[in-house]
Symmetry: C2
Subunit: 198 residues, 2 copies
């Protein structure tokens, strides 16, 4: 059974993923996915890191302005295809935690998944990106809202679902309310319960 | 601290609420709220039970057809006002579980709440309403979709929020994945953790 962790920017979802993997003694995939995507697609690591969650709504316009390539897949499409392939490959190797990258959606109909969503209030996340990520932005709230918008747009285009809709997850937790340690413990408990239930 | 439980129809959220209250030794309010609303509003218990979650979009039309009362509050508005008053009164008495009735929204800015959302896949809920509620409907799936639509419309009109958006809850759980007992245990654990954190 795979644990997928979707998360709001600044919510600590990545840290929760790492803690859960440590506690359960399984691997956590996060930035490694970008490395694998680079190998699979031929695009550079930096390009993928910068563009993988870019709003894809530019797609049709870029198509209009490059008529000679109109029927060729865009880089955005190539990234999505390699992302799906990489995530399926990772999942085929056995239990692990996968952070972000729409893994919940990509794997849902194929593999047993515990689908987790981690979020927190804006103010808690704004403080966290300054304290923990060392963000120097004068306006962390603005940065958070931009990232939220971007991630929601990306998720909507590729999954046709609203990002953060509880119905698409087995459990969602607010790290601002419970803290990262408690959330990690709860996910481990639920993972073990769900496995026993199978 | 109050526990509010919002839930999808057929998800077992009401049972979860009762179990949590038993385990924590506090009171669970569910259908009692309707009794109190009847007292507070002068409307009959049956009328409230039938109409409290009716789609409120009929409001403006009913206004058009009763011009002499156009500026008087509709029964729907009176029910909402009494619902808010009853829920605030209940919450003022100390820790308890309140199931449904937008209590999460009504109390959020006023009282410390653990906001819980309980949901499950359609198929699981369809089976449950036949097995547990004894629903005799030939089309339990259709009944579930109608109820979902109704509740979402009601929630949207009065709270201006999307029903089931994880960001408005501290924890959401899928009873179809974990079962009612595990969900109840997790909520008790989180309640105790959140209280220690205060």
């Amino acid at each position: 059974m795979i644990i997928t962790i979707s998360r709001q920017f600044g919510s600590g979802g990545r840290t929760v993923g790492k803690r859960v993997a440590e506690k359960l003694g399984i691997k956590c995939y996060d930035s490694e996915i970008i490395e694998h995507m680079a190998e699979a697609s031929g695009l550079s690591r930096d390009y993928i890191a910068d563009h993988a969650e870019a709003p894809v709504t530019a797609g049709w316009l870029s198509g209009v302005f490059r008529p000679e390539f109109a029927y060729a897949p865009s880089n955005q499409d190539r990234m999505w295809a390699s992302q799906c392939a990489v995530i399926r490959e990772i999942a085929s190797k056995g239990p692990c935690v996968i952070v972000g990258r729409c893994a919940d959606y990509i794997l849902h109909d194929e593999v047993e998944c515990l689908r987790v969503y981690i979020h927190a209030d804006e103010a808690w996340r704004a403080k966290r990106i300054v304290d923990v990520y060392g963000e120097t932005s004068d306006e962390p709230l603005k940065r958070i809202r931009e990232k939220d918008k971007r991630r929601a747009a990306y998720y909507r285009v590729y999954t046709d679902q609203k990002f953060g809709d509880a119905r698409h997850f087995d459990v969602t937790l607010n790290t601002g309310t419970f803290g990262i340690e408690t959330c990690s413990d709860i996910i481990c408990t639920l993972y073990q319960e769900a496995q026993q239930g199978k």
